[in-house]
C-alpha cells in the first residue's frame, strides 16, 4: 500500500463516517442541529422570562388585600407616570446614567487612544491587564472599598487635609444636589463609583474601534492640511463612533439598572433598580416592579435610535 492511497479515506468505514456523510450531504439540517439548542435557550430563558416579567406590568395590585389582580389594565403605568415620586426616580436615574456615560467617555478615550496609538506592545499588554483585572474582582468588594475611600474619615478626605485642600472638599460638598455630608453619602460619590465601575466597558470598545483606524488615515489627514483637532473631529471621531456607541450602551444601561451602588454609596434618593428591588421584595408589588423594569428598556431603545440617527453606525 503506497502513501497516496493511505491518505484517501475509504468509502464506508464505520458508523461515524456514515453520520458524517449524512450531515455533510444535508447542510441545512446540520446547521439547525447546531443552532436550535442555543436558540431555544435564548428564546425561552431570556426573551420568555423578559416577556413574562413585562406582562406582569399590565396587572395591578389590590390596595386592601395586596393581591395581584390579573385583569389587563394600564393602572400601574398610570401610577408610574402620574406619581411625582416615581417620575423623580426616573429623572434621577436617567440624569445619573447620562452623566456617568459622558464622564466615562471622556476618561476612556485618552486611555484607549494611548493604548492603541502610542504604547509599545509591552506597555499595551500591561494596560489591557490593568483595565481587565478590576473586572475579575468582586463587585461588592469594590463598592465597599469605595465607600471606605469616600467616607468622612476615609483616605480621600485625609488626602485633601494632608495637602491643605480641606476647604476645596468642603466647598464641593456644600454644592446643592451633588453635595452631601460626606463624599460617601453624596451623589458626587455615587457618580465617582459608577464611573470607576463601568470604565472598562467603555475603554475596551473604544480601543477596539481605534485599532481598526489605520495610522495612514491620520497621516493622510495631516498631510492634507488638517490640524490635530480637525483630524480628531473629521476622521478619528466618526470612525470611532460605533465603539463609542457600544461602550455608552454598556455604561448607560448598567447605570440605569444598578441597585447595589445607590444603596451602598450616595445620597438617600431612590434609583430605578432599587425601586424594582423594593417593589418586588418587601412591598410585594410585582406589577409596579415590572412597570419600572420597562423604563430602562425604553430609555435604551430611545437612546439607540438617537445614536443611530446621529450616524454613529454609518462607519460600521
Amino acid at each position: 500500500m503506497n502513501a497516496a492511497a493511505a491518505t484517501v479515506p475509504s468509502a464506508g468505514g464505520g458508523p461515524f463516517r456514515a453520520i458524517s456523510t449524512f450531515l455533510y450531504r444535508r447542510p441545512t439540517f446540520y446547521l439547525l442541529l447546531l443552532l436550535v439548542p442555543p436558540l431555544l435557550w435564548l428564546g425561552t430563558v431570556y426573551l420568555g422570562t423578559l416577556f413574562a416579567l413585562l406582562t406582569q406590568s399590565i396587572y395591578s395590585i389590590d390596595e386592601f388585600t395586596a393581591q395581584i389582580v390579573r385583569t389587563p389594565t394600564f393602572a400601574t403605568y398610570k401610577q408610574l407616570i402620574t406619581q411625582p415620586a416615581n417620575l423623580d426616580i426616573v429623572t434621577r436615574t436617567l440624569t445619573m446614567a447620562i452623566c456617568v456615560t459622558l464622564a466615562a467617555a471622556f476618561v476612556a478615550f485618552p486611555i484607549a487612544n494611548y493604548m492603541v496609538r502610542y504604547a509599545s506592545s509591552r506597555t499595551k499588554a500591561i494596560f489591557y491587564v490593568a483595565v481587565l483585572v478590576p473586572m475579575w474582582t468582586s463587585y461588592l468588594v469594590k463598592v465597599y472599598a469605595w465607600r471606605l475611600i469616600l467616607a468622612k474619615e476615609g483616605i480621600l478626605s485625609w488626602l485633601f487635609q494632608a495637602i491643605g485642600a480641606q476647604g476645596v472638599l468642603d466647598a464641593i460638598l456644600r454644592l446643592p444636589a451633588v453635595g452631601g455630608p460626606s463624599l460617601a453619602s453624596s451623589y458626587l460619590g455615587m457618580f465617582i463609583v459608577f464611573v470607576y465601575m463601568w470604565l472598562p466597558y467603555m475603554i475596551l470598545p473604544i480601543a477596539a474601534a481605534l485599532e481598526r483606524v489605520p495610522a495612514s488615515l491620520i497621516q493622510a489627514s495631516a498631510d492634507l492640511g488638517a490640524r490635530p483637532g480637525q483630524t480628531f473631529r473629521s476622521v478619528i471621531l466618526p470612525l470611532v463612533m460605533p465603539g463609542l456607541a457600544a461602550g455608552s450602551v454598556f455604561t448607560f444601561s448598567l447605570t440605569l439598572g444598578d441597585y447595589i451602588i445607590p444603596s451602598i454609596v450616595g445620597a438617600p434618593g431612590y434609583f430605578i433598580g432599587m425601586m424594582v428591588y423594593q417593589q418586588q421584595g418587601t412591598a410585594g408589588n410585582i406589577p409596579l416592579a415590572a412597570a419600572f423594569s420597562l423604563v430602562p428598556i425604553l430609555l435604551i431603545a430611545i437612546y439607540l435610535s438617537l445614536v443611530r440617527r446621529l450616524g454613529a453606525f454609518d462607519a460600521m
Binding site: 489605520p214 497621516q219 495631516a222 498631510d223 488638517a226 490640524r227 473629521s234
Partner: protein, 339 residues
C-alpha cells in the same frame, strides 16, 4: 532653488540606521525616483519629506526653507499612500475636497475644485461613491486627485502602483508621467520596481541599507552602475567580486557584465582575443518567449546568467547538467567600485 534638499539627514530606529547621513537635492519639476529593496530607507526618506517622521540629525529643506521641525499640515507637499488611505466614511467627492475643507475654503469653491480634479483623473460620475465601492485602480485615482487638489509644490508617491495588476500598472505609469509633465509638479516616487523607476523618472536614487549608492538618470544607471549592488539591483547584471573577479577579469576590482552581453558556447569552442571565457555547468534554462535565460554555475564559483534570443540558443542543447562555455567581450565589462 531646490524643491527638496537633504543635508546629512539621519534617522535611526533603535539600532537600525534607516537613513544614514543622506544628502540629496531634487529640482523643481523633476520626476525623482527613490529605488531600493524593502528596508533600504527610501520610504523613511519620503516620510521625512512629508513630515510624518523627524530626522535625528541633519536638515530637510523644502524650497530652501528648513522644515525639520514643521508638522505635516504646515508643509506644502502632499502624499499618495501605498494603501491609498481614503477616508472610508466619506464619499469620493468628500475625500477629494478634504484638503480645501480643512483650509476653510467655501463649499461651492471646494466642490468645483474637487470636480475639476475628478475630471483630471477621469473619475467623473463617481462623486457619490464610497471608497469601499471602488476598484483598486479607481481608489488610486481618488488618492491622486485628493493629493493634487491642494496644488502642492511636491507630490510624494509611496509605491502607488504596488497593489495594481500588471496591465493597469503599465497604464497608470504612462498616465502619471503625462500628468507630471502637464502639471509641472515635482514628483518624488518611491518604488522597489527597477523597471518602473527606470521608465518613468528623470533621475533615480538607488538606496541600500540607509544610504544612496548611486544617483543618476536611467541610462547612466543601467550603462554605468557604480557599485556591485546597483549593477545587480538595477541592471540584473552578473557581478564578479574578489577572487572570482581575479580569475575572470585578471584583477581583484569587481566588474559587471550584463546578461545580454554573455554568449553561450559549446565547451571547446575557441574564443577570440579580447573576449573572456568561463566554463561551467547549466543549472536551468528559462524560456521567456522572445528570449531564453540560462543559469550557469561557473567552475570559478558564481552563478552567471546569459540572455539569448530564442533562435540563437539552438547552438547548444539547454539541459541541466550540460557543460557549456560562457564568453563576453572585455569592452562590455563595467568596472565597479569595490564595496
Amino acid at each position: 532653488m531646490n524643491a527638496v534638499e537633504f543635508r546629512e539627514v539621519a534617522r535611526a530606529f533603535g539600532t537600525v540606521r534607516a537613513v544614514d547621513r543622506v544628502s540629496l537635492t531634487i529640482e523643481p519639476g523633476e520626476f525623482f525616483a527613490m529605488l531600493g529593496p524593502s528596508g533600504s530607507g527610501k520610504t523613511t526618506c519620503l516620510r521625512l519629506i512629508a513630515g510624518f517622521d523627524l530626522p535625528d540629525s541633519g536638515e530637510v529643506l523644502l524650497e530652501g526653507r528648513d522644515v525639520s521641525s514643521v508638522p505635516p499640515y504646515e508643509r506644502n507637499v502632499n502624499t499618495v499612500f501605498q494603501d491609498y488611505a481614503l477616508f472610508p466614511h466619506m464619499t469620493v467627492l468628500e475625500n477629494v475636497a478634504y484638503g480645501p475643507r480643512m483650509r476653510r475654503v467655501s463649499l461651492a469653491e471646494r466642490s468645483a475644485r474637487a470636480h475639476e480634479m475628478l475630471d483630471l483623473v477621469k473619475l467623473r460620475g463617481f462623486e457619490g461613491r464610497r471608497p469601499a465601492q471602488l476598484s483598486g485602480g479607481q481608489k488610486q485615482r481618488v488618492a491622486l486627485a485628493r493629493a493634487l487638489i491642494n496644488q502642492p509644490k511636491v507630490l510624494l508617491l509611496d509605491e502607488p502602483l504596488g497593489a495594481l495588476d500588471l496591465k493597469l500598472r503599465e497604464e497608470m505609469q504612462i498616465e502619471l508621467r503625462n500628468l507630471q509633465r502637464r502639471l509641472a509638479i515635482t514628483f518624488v516616487y518611491v518604488t522597489h520596481d527597477q523597471g518602473e523607476a527606470l521608465s518613468m523618472s528623470d533621475r533615480v536614487a538607488v538606496f541600500n541599507s540607509g544610504r544612496i549608492e548611486q544617483m543618476a538618470n536611467a541610462r547612466e544607471l543601467y550603462k554605468r552602475p557604480r557599485t556591485p549592488f546597483v549593477a545587480r539591483f538595477v541592471g540584473g547584471a552578473n557581478v564578479a567580486e574578489g577572487e572570482i573577479a581575479r580569475k575572470l577579469g585578471g584583477s581583484s576590482q569587481p566588474f559587471a557584465i550584463r546578461t545580454e552581453s554573455v554568449a553561450v558556447l559549446a565547451p571547446n569552442d575557441a574564443v577570440s582575443s579580447g573576449f573572456v571565457a568561463a566554463d561551467g555547468t547549466v543549472l536551468d534554462v528559462q524560456f521567456h518567449g522572445a528570449t531564453c535565460r540560462w543559469q550557469v554555475r561557473l567552475d570559478a564559483g558564481d552563478v552567471f546568467s546569459a540572455t539569448c534570443n530564442a533562435g540563437e540558443s539552438a547552438r547548444v542543447p539547454g539541459h541541466a547538467g550540460e557543460r557549456v562555455r560562457l564568453a563576453w567581450s572585455r569592452e562590455h565589462m563595467v568596472m565597479l567600485e569595490s564595496a
